[in-house]
């Protein structure tokens, strides 16, 4: 699966259960995020045992984007079917600041900083 916007690409590789987000998430409100939300929902509904969310190529994410990712994490937590590893980078300081909140949304989530 692949979604390509003006400034971002989101891909899902089912063989490794890896979602990869690159570019910048600056979309306007939840409506413009709906294609990405649909992809994340599809992955969640497949209930893979281990999900990897690779955000190391994402240089910016606005609050609507953080909302979308957080909803995905909450959904996985509620389903209790998948473990989640989030890959992030110290290259983009926002990632360390904002992504650690995901651990509070889903205890057991593994945040790996490169």
């Amino acid at each position: 699966m692949k979604i390509e916007g003006q400034n971002y690409i989101v891909t899902y590789d089912s063989s490794s259960s890896t979602i990869c987000c690159e570019g910048a998430f600056r979309l306007r409100g939840m409506a413009e995020y709906s294609p990405i939300m649909e992809l994340l929902d599809t992955v969640a509904n497949q209930k893979p045992k281990n999900v990897i969310l690779n955000l190391t190529g994402l240089k910016f994410m606005n609050s609507s984007g953080i909302n979308v990712i957080s909803k995905f994490v909450i959904k996985l937590r509620r389903q209790k079917s998948s473990d989640l590893v989030v890959l992030c980078t110290s290259k983009y300081p926002w990632q360390i600041k904002s992504l650690r909140n995901l651990e509070r949304l889903m205890p057991g989530l593994k945040l790996e900083v490169d």
């Binding site: 600056r26 306007r28 939840m30 609050s63 953080i66 983009y92 909140n101």
Partner: protein, 194 residues
């Protein structure tokens, strides 16, 4: 008399500042949206010019501070664009005031009088509740919210992740018909920015 929420500090006592004004326009918001990111990145780059280069601690923090400026300006502008009331036909003003140890951000936009009460109730929550707890509550509630509102998450991220101080000022600029503006102030201290 303006209505003040939080520790609002009037702008103007810094030698270094930058003001951007966005005129009211008939151009759809979708077409203006990408300018928020351009403006945010520009203001973050611009700050580097004033970054005190003798402060070793600050040099190490430059990337984090630049990143914080970019996020906060983008969020303030997105909010201003989203909620700006076209009725008042006022320009949106974004300004940054640079100090040795902090930056103050201000954004002013028109606001629909019907939205003022709801916004002020939310501001009171922001100023009186624990932001970390409110952050989680808003996100948990948003999962079941079919209206897909953003739940003020941008302000909560500024408070929780960027340790920003936030304050607001509401002004009535025209009584009949009633037109109001809201100025949002955010302040980040470099010592708190990691």
């Amino acid at each position: 008399m303006p209505q003040i929420f939080g520790d609002f500090i009037e702008p103007g006592n810094s030698k270094e500042y930058l003001v951007l004004s966005f005129s009211p326009t008939s151009r759809p918001i979708q077409k203006r949206w990408k300018n928020n990111g351009l403006s945010a990145d520009f203001l973050a780059d611009y700050w580097m010019t004033f970054s005190p280069t003798k402060n070793v601690l600050l040099i190490k923090k430059q990337t984090a501070i630049k990143d914080a400026i970019s996020f906060i300006v983008n969020e303030l502008l997105e909010n201003a664009m989203k909620f700006n009331s076209d009725d008042a036909a006022v320009a949106i003003h974004m300004s940054l005031y640079f100090y040795n140890d902090k930056i103050r951000f201000y954004v002013t936009n028109g606001i629909n009088s019907l939205q003022v009460n709801e916004f002020q109730l939310f501001i009171n929550k922001l100023l009186t509740e624990y932001p970390e707890r409110l952050y989680i509550t808003q996100l948990e509630n948003s999962v079941n919210d079919s209206t897909n509102k953003n739940s003020g998450l941008g302000f909560l991220i500024m408070l929780v992740d960027y340790h920003a101080d936030l304050a607001w000022k509401f002004d009535v600029i025209h009584e009949v018909p009633k037109h109001e503006t809201v100025t949002t102030m955010a302040q980040i201290n470099f010592l708190d920015t990691d």
